[in-house]
């Protein structure tokens, strides 16, 4: 496996792409909005452009914040549409350089870490098997299905840990557990299932910094 260099230049406009984390799979050029796939042996201009409308948000790309005495830096931003409206997903790096998702939907903030395959049970319930208010036992814990819907990607910017395509959509289920914990199961159209586990965050406990 070839490790990525510290920086790339945008194949579209030539501007430098300062990659903030080693395992970025996708980046949007800050200068020309070109979407670039980062591959082990180089990069590829995806050719699509994604422009997200500016909306009021506590979290801003490149603006550091702290929560519970830990510092975080948002480096990537996705916006999804679902039945009720829109929500934002921020790919953030903690002070040790580890990545996690911060989901924001009208004041509901959730920190979630993607679970690796070896952390998941061998059989996850199919999306159609999950019903609202249903109790599910997963990862040695009881969960309650509190939301099930489908999301469609409206756009993205910054640097992301996985390839995402505008318009791509998937089904998802939120499973709520004790102590403000949350498990999200995502069902892609190609049949793959991914999971993230985290907890609800009080936005009033988030302290916005001034640095980047």
């Amino acid at each position: 496996m070839t490790s990525q260099p510290a920086s790339y230049n945008c194949p579209n406009c030539g501007a430098e792409l300062p990659l903030r984390f080693r395992h970025a799979k996708m980046a949007v050029c800050e200068h020309c909005d070109a979407t670039i796939f980062l591959e082990d042996d180089g990069m590829r201009l995806a050719g699509t452009r994604s422009v997200l409308a500016e909306m009021p948000s506590l979290i801003r790309l490149g603006q550091a914040f702290s929560y519970d005495s830990r510092d975080y830096l948002p480096v990537g931003h996705l916006r999804y549409r679902y039945t009720l409206g829109r929500w934002d997903e921020w790919w953030i790096l903690d002070q040790d350089g580890n990545g996690l998702w911060l989901s924001v939907d009208e004041g509901d903030f959730v920190f979630e870490k993607p679970l690796q395959w070896d952390q998941l049970p061998t059989r996850l319930p199919a999306f159609r098997q999950l019903q609202l208010d249903q109790s599910v036992r997963l990862l040695e814990q009881d969960w309650t299905v509190t939301e099930r819907d489908q999301g469609r990607c409206e756009g993205f910017r910054g640097q992301l840990p996985a390839r995402v395509a505008e318009g791509e959509h998937f089904f998802y289920a939120h499973l709520s557990g004790p102590d403000a914990s949350l498990l999200t199961l995502e069902y892609a159209r190609d049949g793959t299932v991914s999971a993230s586990r985290g907890y609800w965050v009080d936005p009033f406990e988030i302290r916005i910094g001034t640095g980047t």
């Binding site: 409206g85 009208e106 916005i208």
Partner: protein, 434 residues
């Protein structure tokens, strides 16, 4: 109000637009309440509409009457540095009390409530740190935790909605009943609301009403706070400061008073007994050698009075010349009644004086007046045991200082206890009634 110094003001203010009420046609102002709004209620005719289905009419409650509230939909203000817009309003009643919950919306921080009751204001948000379900079965003052802090159960009651207006994140209907449980850790109040379909928990924070009025630019009639709110923190900075300042002085004066009481009684330099005959005619004592001038000399006197009183004239003599004179009264009564033994007065007394120079002194003591029983005017016969001590140090002024500083020390805690009694009185009285 601002406790977080961060720029969270949305880049755009709430988007205001209007729709027509499907019930009465009145223009209804929408204050941009986000995508989780489930109902819009007309303040004029009580029609409840569904904003997600073209404002279809869900219900109509024409008898509702707007409750008093200094806040109203459309107002904007900052709470903890976050700009909120009031988008809806729900009136409640329970056990004779009425209050108003105002739905808040922030484009950055989502939904919250401002609860107004009798001049008290709380900032209310949904909590995901839930208490054990046993909270519904606890008695007042029993402890419950949400994992973050410990609360004491305050009360349980049924509440009924009597008014709805504006945009709400739930379909509120006049007449809906909700069971509520409240536990407090002032200024916080953890509440559970149980309806026929769900149970939700909220965390309320008691706010300074004046600061909230300023933040939301409330004008017009503002009612003063009535009573003590369940989540209201005790606030007595002057009394607390007074108690804090007085405490070390109370300790110091107490220690000094105790030390003087134990070690300040001086040295006995003379002891003598005066018989009844001596006192009737007056008699000089033996010579008393006083070596410490300008220091207190204490005369400790003990009589054997019984249901009688006497006045003695006491002269201090040097070289048979009177240099000081004083009177001392004794009175002692005792008996038995329906409640048992009783007594009043004392057979003993202390007199203090100073002499200007060392030397030999005498005392002349004579009975001046007296009586026996309740009305007798004949002076009783009594002996007088006299003990003279020099170098006596009085703890009187330190005792007075101890009393004053002790009272000052207790003012803060006392006010706090009285405040807590008022906080719990309503619910504990209700509990007693049950």
């Amino acid at each position: 109000m601002s406790t977080q110094h961060q720029d969270t003001r949305p880049e755009t203010t709430a988007r205001v637009r209007s729709v027509q009420c499907r019930g009465c046609g009145a223009p209804l102002t929408l204050h941009g309440g986000g995508h989780r709004i489930l109902s819009l209620s007309c303040a004029y005719c009580g029609t409840v509409m569904d904003p997600r289905h073209d404002y279809a009419v869900l219900a109509k409650f024409s008898t509702q009457q707007a409750p008093f509230s200094p806040f109203e939909p459309g107002m904007q203000g900052e709470i903890h540095g976050v700009l909120f817009t009031i988008i809806g309003m729900v009136g409640w009643e329970a056990q004779g009390d009425v209050w108003v919950d105002l739905q808040l919306y922030s484009e950055t921080h989502g939904y919250a409530w401002l609860s107004y009751e009798r001049g008290h204001v709380c900032f209310v948000r949904k909590t995901r740190h839930l208490p054990n379900a046993l909270v519904w079965n606890l008695a007042p003052k029993q402890s419950v935790t949400d994992g973050l802090r410990t609360y004491r159960l305050y009360e349980r009651y049924m509440a009924t909605i009597n008014y709805v207006a504006g945009e709400l994140t739930w379909v509120a209907a006049v007449g809906n009943r909700v069971q509520i449980v409240e536990a407090i850790a002032p200024p916080l109040l953890l509440s559970g609301e149980r309806s026929s379909t769900e149970t939700e928990y909220h965390l309320s924070e008691y706010l300074d009403p004046a600061a909230v009025y300023r933040a939301f630019q409330v004008s017009g009639q503002i009612w003063p706070r009535a009573g003590v709110h369940a989540a209201q923190p005790y606030h007595g900075p002057f009394k607390d400061a007074l108690s804090k300042a007085a405490f070390p002085f109370a300790i110091l004066s107490g220690v000094l008073a105790a030390a003087l009481w134990l070690f300040g009684s001086g040295v006995q330099i003379h002891q003598e007994t005066f018989l009844p005959g001596d006192l009737q005619t007056g008699r000089h004592s033996a010579e008393i050698e006083i070596t410490r001038p300008n220091r207190l000399v204490a005369l400790e006197m003990e009589t054997n009075l019984d249901n009688a009183w006497v006045d003695f004239d006491i002269d201090v003599l040097k070289d048979n010349e009177e240099i000081f004179s004083m009177g001392k009264a004794f009175s002692f009564y005792e008996g038995r009644d329906d409640e048992g033994y009783w007594s009043e007065g004392s057979r003993s007394a202390r007199a203090l004086f100073k002499v200007p120079e060392p030397g030999r002194y005498r005392l002349n003591i004579q009975l001046a007046d007296g009586g026996t029983g309740e009305t007798g005017t004949t002076p009783p016969e009594t002996t007088l045991e006299l003990s003279v001590r020099q170098g006596y140090i009085s703890s009187y002024y330190f005792v007075i200082l101890l009393i004053i500083t002790g009272i000052a020390t207790l003012i803060g805690p006392g006010a706090r206890i009285a405040f807590e009694r008022r906080r719990w009185k309503a619910v504990l009285d209700d509990d007693d009634d049950d």
